[in-house]
């Protein structure tokens, strides 16, 4: 294992631990660690809305900027002051969320293959984000702004860009004029706009983007920021005075950390660091990484153009086109560049039902590495081999809690690439084929490797999404357990409880009628 893999593995286990610890109080839907991107978007919205208000009161003359911003805090603390504080703290929160989001995507190895596009489009956003933040602090034109302006231009001047050092603009009080602030505001509106456009590009290749946190999470974080705004309102430092050095600064370390870092090292070091990190992020996808999964394959004869696979694909890899030979019908087309090879589409296809009489089950959209036909054959074989009083079939996920350890004479185990790949009819098929109960397990809520598998599984099994579980499957005989890789023991316990539940509660009368395929194939 390379040093990089070791580091990444370490980071991953830290993230997993925190996420799972947060599941206890928050649950998966409200767990901030599972929705960092959505929180990033949300804080950016808060920044945008509060920023628009600040803009309306801003006076962009040299004398005006400091007083007009100060007025917000002192005379209109109940509105302008709070919005100003929100603007500042939400910016910090935005940066924090983005950095965590980046580290998390890296830690889980989500930077290559079909995710390359999301990764590469994310990197420039970092520059825009810090650029916006630093520019924002300049507008206040207090001592902190002065410090940041001088430090930034001194850093910039290390690069051979300008003939005349740009830091000369901040030499003496006379050097600044009103035009400077007009330009600043222009930049401070323009760069965030580019950031928003960049974000649109960042998420445009995935479907059903998690772009807004769940209501409770949104309210909770807003309440936290509001409370902070009241307890510690954002205030300005003394007005800028270029004839003195600004010291004893209340520095925003989220946004302005580069300045102390430059002082502690050197401009050369900081530029090497910035360009090094940027380059590293860009070339990370070129480092050795696991091979891409085979992509989904459509079978024209078995596709009726229902578009369920399009609706369920988490990576917008499916489009519909005219069917080659069924007039008036459509056919699903898979874009191999976008396809994650997750199998969720196979689970969504109505042709994946195992009740079909074909000797070889061919579905509309299938995975070469784990075709539905193989799943059916394996299931039939395993059920036939079950013995004992309460025979259970477990459908699990390769990415979630390992299910193989649960295999026993009375327990058949099937591990899928993603539980989202399970056509609900397989549950019914297992019960009618001789199982007394079916346990389905997949990653915890919000923990799906392929974003949406947990959600679709839950909705299909609770009959809220097509293809849904048929009504003849009794609730007592089906159990769903959300279990991550670290939940092996909990899963084993849940299986035993389920077995007891069936033994004590399930009535023979609720068993769906047995079903045997005419051409049942034994090998």
């Amino acid at each position: 294992m390379s040093l990089h893999d070791t580091l990444r593995g370490g980071a991953q286990s830290i993230f997993r631990r925190i996420e799972e610890a947060f599941d206890a109080p928050f649950g998966g839907t409200d767990n901030p660690m599972r929705h960092l991107g959505a929180l990033g978007f949300y804080f950016l919205w808060i920044v945008t809305v509060s920023g628009l208000y600040l803009y309306t009161v801003l006076d962009t003359s040299i004398e005006g900027v400091h007083t007009s911003i100060g007025w917000l805090t002192e005379d209109q603390w109940y509105l302008g002051g709070i919005l100003r504080s929100l603007h500042r703290y939400a910016s910090d929160a935005f940066i924090l969320m983005t950095m965590l989001h980046l580290i998390r995507e890296w830690a889980y190895g989500r930077y290559h293959g079909f995710r390359l596009y999301s990764w590469v489009t994310g990197v420039p956003l970092l520059w825009l984000m810090f650029f916006s933040g630093i520019g924002g602090y300049w507008i206040v034109w207090d001592r902190l702004a002065q410090f940041s302006a001088i430090a930034s231009t001194e850093l910039l001047d290390w690069l051979p860009i300008f003939n005349d050092p740009s830091a000369r603009n901040f030499l003496t009080p006379e050097a600044i004029n009103d035009r400077f602030f007009t330009m600043l505001v222009f930049i401070h509106l323009g760069v965030p706009l580019m950031l928003i456009l960049g974000l649109w590009a960042h998420v445009h290749r995935i479907s059903r983007v998690d772009h807004f946190p769940a209501r409770r999470l949104a309210l909770g974080t807003l309440a936290a920021l509001l409370l902070l705004a009241l307890v510690q309102p954002a205030i300005s430092d003394a007005p800028a005075d270029l004839s003195v050095v600004a010291t004893g600064l209340r520095l925003d370390w989220f946004i302005l950390f580069l300045h102390p870092l430059t002082d502690a090292t050197s401009p050369a070091f900081v530029w090497a660091l910035l360009s090094g990190v940027t380059l590293l992020l860009f070339i990370l996808p070129l480092l050795p990484h696991p091979k891409a999964e085979p992509v989904a394959v459509v079978n024209a004869a078995n596709c009726n153009g229902c578009a369920r696979c399009l609706a369920d694909c988490p990576y917008a890899a499916v489009t519909m086109e005219a069917h080659p030979y069924k007039p008036g019908h459509k056919i699903a087309i898979v874009d191999a560049d976008l396809c994650a090879g997750c199998g969720i589409c196979a689970g969504s296809c109505p042709s994946s039902t195992p009740f079909r009489s074909q000797e070889t089950l061919v579905t509309g959209i299938d995975m070469p590495q784990q075709p539905v036909n193989v799943l059916r054959r394996e299931l039939e074989k395993k059920i036939a081999g079950l013995e004992g009083t309460t025979r259970i079939v477990v459908f699990g996920c390769d990415r979630g809690a390992a299910v193989h350890a649960l295999a026993a004479p009375d327990t058949a185990v099937m591990s899928l690439m993603c539980t989202g790949m399970l056509p609900p009819a397989f549950v019914e098929y297992a019960l009618r084929g001789g199982a007394d109960g079916v346990l389905v397990t997949g990653c915890r809520t919000g923990g799906c490797e392929f974003r949406l598998g947990d959600q679709w599984t839950a909705e299909r099994l609770t009959r809220r999404r097509e293809p849904h579980l048929r009504a003849n499957v009794p609730a007592q005989r089906l159990h769903f357990v959300a279990a991550s890789v670290s939940d092996g023991e909990a899963l084993a316990t849940a299986l035993e409880e389920f077995r007891t539940r069936i033994e004590t509660q399930a009535a023979d009368s609720d068993r769906p009628p047995p079903f045997r395929r005419r051409t049942l194939h034994h090998d």
Partner: protein
């Protein structure tokens, strides 16, 4: 329904989030320079001199009428030498080169010196034409620097050359 323990957990974590943001948005305080120190900023941006030659009357005669400039000047500008002494010690000694591929742009310098607040003897010498020996511009003065004060050493021919501000 959420369990009471979960509500308490959420409140604690949202609180920790607010504290974390609130703390690092303002703290720890940053002191760029020690308390009893002032800053001298040497920032000069100046076009070096050129070595011009007077054209002879015969040469002028040969030129088209509209191009008969009395001086023949090269595009290239001279390097500029600059020395700064603080309390009799040379603290900075540099040669500034003209910018631009044709070496016809301004030569610049930007440098910060941290000095203890108090009285200092500051002397700056500059020569913008290396074809001539010695220093064309000299500025020497006793300066009294308050803590955190910024003293700028600049050059402006309209203000009589080198000056402190």
């Amino acid at each position: 329904m959420i369990k009471p323990s979960a509500i308490i957990g959420q409140v604690i974590l949202y609180g920790a989030f607010a504290v974390f943001i609130g703390y690092f948005a303002t703290s720890p305080k940053y002191h760029q320079i020690p308390e009893d120190v002032a800053l001298i900023k040497l920032s000069i941006s100046h076009l070096g001199d050129r070595e011009c030659r007077k054209r002879t009357p015969e040469e002028l005669e040969k030129l088209p009428r509209n191009m008969r400039a009395p001086l023949d000047c090269p595009r290239e500008r001279s390097d500029i030498t600059l020395q700064v002494d603080l309390d009799g010690q040379t603290v900075f000694d540099t040669v500034m080169h003209p910018t631009g591929i044709a070496k016809d742009g301004v030569a610049t310098v930007y440098k910060r010196f941290e000095v203890k607040a108090g009285e200092h003897m500051l002397s700056v010498r500059m020569n913008d034409n290396l074809a001539k020996p010695g220093f064309k511009f000299v500025k020497e003065d006793k300066v009294n620097l308050k803590p955190a004060q910024v003293l700028v050493i600049d050059f402006n021919p309209d203000k009589g050359g080198l000056f402190f501000q």
